[in-house]
Structures are given as C-alpha cells and as structure tokens.
Symmetry: C2
Subunit: 365 residues, 2 copies
C-alpha cells in the first residue's frame, strides 16, 4: 500500500493506494470516527462492491443509498435522496458518509456530507479511474445545474481516500479510457516527464497492466495533491491549472445534456482545443499539439467537437463558466508540455475560429 499526503494546513489527509484495500478492516476503522456509516453508491457499482464493503464494515452500523448511474443524475433531485436516507435513519453529526463509485458519486457524496447538519465526516472510496486520479481528491464537491456543470457545491475535504485498484477490473472500457484524459492532464500542466512516460507506456496502460496503472494513478494523485495543498480554494492561479480543457469540456457536457459524452471525453477534446489555441497564440509549438492529438487518438478519446453543438452555443455556455470574472473569459493554456498558465485576454474572434475549425461535418467521437 502506498500513502500520498494531501498536505492541507488545517486538515491534512491521506490517499491510500493498493490492491485489495476494500477488504482492509484496519484501514477503514482508522478512518471512521463514529458508529454510523452511510454508504452512497450507484446501482452498477453496488452490485460488484457493496457486499465486500459491508463485510469489511461489519462492526459498524451501516446504511446505504443507491443512486442511478450517470452524470445526468448528478443533480439536486438525486442529492435529496441522500438527505432523505440520512434523516429517516436518524444519522447524527457524528456519522460518516462513504462514497463508493465514480466521479458522480464522489462529487455528490462530498456535497451531501458538506451540507448534512452543516457538515459531517466523509471518506472517498473511488472505483473508477477518473475518480481515483481526480474527483475523489481535493474536496471540490458539487452537483450540476442545467446551465452549468458543478454550479452548486462546496469546498469540503474528505477525511481520507482509499483507492483499491482491483475495482478497475470491472470498469467498462469506455469509462476506463475516459480516465486517461485526467491522467494526461497532469502531464500537460505540471510534469513533462510524466507525459513522456504515458506516451511510452500507453499500450500497457490500455491493457490494464497493474504495475503501469499503479504508477500512473500514484503520480496523478501526487500532482493533484501538490496543487490542491498549494491553493485549496482556488484563490491563487495554481489550482485553476487543473481546469485545463474544462471550460470547453463543461460547455460540451452541459450543451449536449449531461451524460451523453463522459466527462473525460469532453475534457480530452477540451485539452486539445486549449493546446491548439496556445499554438495559435504562439505560446506552444504546433508539433506539441499534434503529439497530444496522437495520444488522445491512441486512447480512443475525441479530437473533434460533437456535431450536435454550434459555435454560438459553445460560446454562450463558456461565457457562464465558473472561472470567469466580471464577464471576462478565463482559459487555461499551455506554454509547453508540462507548463500551464491562466489567460484572461483571449480574443472572441480567435475562439470563434478555433471552435469552428473543430466543429465540422467530419466530426468523429
């Protein structure tokens, strides 16, 4: 088992990474303070892993609530079901919520924990690659609004993150591959050597080689932990770099309707757009854009915008993005592979042309 620390000043916590951790009674017991536990999961994941986890937690009083599976259910209506279950089972302020699932479950459980009785303890137990490398770390919790992804949420840190890489064995191929969008992101914004390594090991990663996979997850978690610890609430421009590709990606997800494209798919084309825009602004060599595109294609991630969307729709949705300040669009761009920056002066006509170039009849996804 590896341990990675998220070194927050006020409440540091650990990410535990290894095979078979779902069966580790000692580890779970250390992380749970009170007697009551509410496992939040979805119908798909619960079938595989809920009985295992219940067995591990058999000395606790364990309730559970199962939500439907998919980004389209990451909304206030489904969130309310968690509150209903907690209240009807008389869970107190000393309860522990436990998020067993992918990014949607991670975000919703964290937000429910932030709000129930104004804040209770929670643990992340991510079972998808995307949740393991991204959603479960850093305390960004939220649900979606029809007009904007993650518009309603809180910064609320978990007490710990327990990653059992064995859970990836049952992850459907499409959801496995989308996770690599976030893995690649860490290389792009912070660590050129890691990007090079991903390129070199992409075959092993796609065939789910445990050794390569463990390294990719651990390195991703380390980078995320570093950036989050440096800027927990995104007040500086450090944590914001983690949003590379996300302004585009969130607009795609909201525009198509949540759940049509997976989050990682939308982020993949978003990162390519950010890289291409960086090249057009003469920040990034064009050859690097091609390199990123090649890697995304190898993984089977989209490199064109969805044909159902228009440039006007994308611009409108991006105008409402959370990172914008006083109606000015803020984008994360690349100066090099391994180095990102925040840009506040992107010209509307450059953005329009960029979107138009990626939105034609030849759209593939």
């Amino acid at each position: 088992m590896q341990t990675i620390t998220v070194g927050l000043e006020k409440q540091p916590y650990s990410i535990y990474l290894g095979a078979g951790l779902l069966q580790n009674k000692t580890l779970f017991s250390e992380q749970i303070r009170g007697h009551q536990v509410m496992i939040v999961s979805n119908e798909t994941v619960a079938k595989w892993y809920l009985p295992q986890l219940q067995a591990t937690l058999n000395t606790h009083h364990c309730d559970n609530v199962l939500l439907p599976d998919g980004e389209q259910y990451k909304n206030i209506t489904e969130l309310t079901k968690i509150f209903d279950e907690l209240a009807s089972k008389k869970h107190t302020r000393k309860t522990t919520l436990l998020a067993l699932g992918g990014g949607v479950i991670a975000d919703m459980t964290g937000f429910a924990a932030a709000c129930y009785m104004r804040g209770v303890n929670y643990l992340q137990v991510p079972t998808s690659l995307l949740a393991q490398v991204d959603a479960s770390i850093g305390g960004k919790t939220a649900v979606n609004h029809p007009l904007g992804k993650n518009f309603i949420g809180a910064f609320y840190q978990p007490r710990g993150v327990i990653i059992d890489i064995n859970t990836l064995a049952t992850l459907p191929e499409r959801e496995y591959r989308e996770g690599f969008a976030e893995v690649i992101k860490y290389g792009l914004i912070h660590d050129k050597a890691f990007f090079d390594w991903i390129e070199a090991h992409i075959e092993g990663l796609l065939s789910r080689d445990p050794q390569a996979l463990t390294y990719a997850i651990a390195r991703s978690c380390q980078i995320k932990a570093t950036l989050v610890a440096a800027d927990e609430h995104e007040w500086l421009d450090i944590r914001a770099l983690l949003n590379l590709g996300h302004s585009f990606g969130h607009a795609i997800e909201a525009g198509l309707g949540y759940g049509k494209w997976l989050h990682g798919e939308a982020v993949a084309i978003g990162m390519l757009l950010a890289a291409d825009l960086s090249a057009r602004l003469a920040c990034l060599p064009t050859a690097e854009v091609a390199r990123i595109k090649t890697l995304l294609i190898k993984i089977g991630l989209p490199v064109r915008l969805p044909a159902e969307l228009s440039v006007a729709q994308m611009l409108d949705l991006m105008a409402g993005d959370k990172k914008n300040i006083n109606s000015q669009l803020r984008l994360i761009l690349l100066k090099a592979i391994g180095q990102a920056c925040v840009a506040e002066d992107v010209m509307q006509n450059q953005l329009t042309q960029l979107l138009a170039d990626y939105l034609d009849e030849n759209t593939i996804c």
Copy 2:
C-alpha cells in the same frame, strides 16, 4: 449608526445598526465588491422595501428573485429558484447576494451563497426583529428537511449585516412579537441584567419605542457576536447555548408542519420547557420558571405545547435533533437566569413527564 463587530479570527465582519440605513449608498457600496448583485427577498417584504434598495444600489447591476413568504417554503425546491436565477443571469463568482427579509430569507440566501459556484459573497439586510437579532448573524445557513429543521445547510459567514430598524414599522404584530423569544433567550443564557431590563421595558418594547428597541437589538447582537466569535462552528459547548429551547422548538415546527407556528413561538415554549426541566432537576429555582412564563405571556407567546402533537411525536423528532451525538439527547438547560449549560444525561422518563404536563386539553397558543 452603531457598529458591532463579529470578531471571527479568519473573517471578522460588522453589524451596522440604525434608522434609514436602506438609503445609505456609501455603506452598501463599501460592502459590495463586484458589479453584480442578486437581491433575494419574498413577495411581502419586496413590496415595501425592494424599490428603496434598488434605488440605493442604482450604480450596480441588480437582479432579484422573490420567493414565497413563510417557513414552509424554506426548502430545497425554493432554494433551487435562487440558483436558476443566478445561472440564467450569468452571475459569476464575483457576484454579491443580498438577503432582504426575515429569518427564512436570511437562512436561504446564506446557503445559496455558500453553494453557488462553491461560495460567493453575501450581505444580510434583515427586515424582521427575529432576523435582526438572530438569523442574520453568525453564518448558520440552512433549509429544512421534512424530518428536521435546518438539516441541510452550511456555516458560511456574510460580509456584513445592515439592520435598518425602520423596516420594523411594517412588520405584522405576530411576527414582531415572535422576535422577542430570541431577545429573551440572550438574557436567559448570558446576561441576567439584560433579562431584568427586558422585564422592566416590555411595555415600551411592545409599543415599538425606537430607543428601547434599538437597545434590545444592539445588546442581542452583541451577545450573539460574542458567542459566535468564541465558537464559530459549534465545536465547543459555547455556541450551542444559543440553542436554548430550540430542540423542543424545532420538533414543534417540524411536527406541526413548517409555518404553522412561527419559529419564535416554538422557541418560546421550548425555553419554558427547558427552564421547567432545569427546575425539576433542581438546577434552577421554581420561581425563575414562573418569571419566564409571566414574561412570555405578557408578550403573547405560547406557554403550552400545541394540542395537535403527541408526546411520542415530540420524543421521536427530538431524537433526530442535530445536537445529539451517538443517539444521546443533548439539551440546553439553565443554571440560573443568565447562565446556561449543556446537559447530556436527561432521563427519558423525566422528559416524557415534562412534555405530558405541557400537552393537555387546555393548550393555549
């Protein structure tokens, strides 16, 4: 204008108290950082004060959302309307929410500010006595759950509180009188001299004498500010004392259906129950219980439980109270007028008898 500081370590803020502050452009401008403002109010209050406030804020971009009036609307469904308005009008992270109304508007606006884009700025502009002395101060924000009052919320502090006592002129008599439950509470838990003063000045207070009223509000705000600054998140047993009467009160509000009894009415009988229980446990002289009861009767506040509720229902709702830890009931009791304590060892049979004694056919309210 008086200024009272809520001396929080991380983010201290001020309560401004005076007549005619709604017209004070300088004061409002100092408190609002960005250009965008979203006024949240209810249909009743907006008729009286929205145009005044809009005129004061005429150099800002001002939107508004009006909710229906009443505790029965302090729920997630109505909260969502605030998010809808913010998102559709493209309010960014730099927006300021402004709560113009009573306790319901204060709690909902604060919670919306806590959640929208994971936290935006907000100001409290309370127009009811109860909101001026209690709800608008201290950053406890929430909506109700059918099974528990304020079950879903956040600790999230406003940037400032602006109390224009002129707004009390239009407050209906019943809502004016309920506010005194919280005023009396401050005397009971923290300041015997203030309780004595309220007793001595009750006629002037009930006739809305501006001088007496200003003192009562200022002293209440000072006491609340002191307790909140000492224990912002209720981790110690200091802030919890502000919940005197509230475990009973919340059970009444939830049990009857929110909005039947006003919050202050439910807290009034709750405080009397807490005082009587304190006397039964030989903590408080019986004569003090009679004194409290006499004052409540003078104000026209309830001194019996509502006949529609049963002892079993009250016990069940109280068992789910937020202050409980590991299924143990925690109540705020009185050692003397001016001195409260947290009790964790209340016997079920004593509580049952107490409730039964206040719940007979002679119920008045």
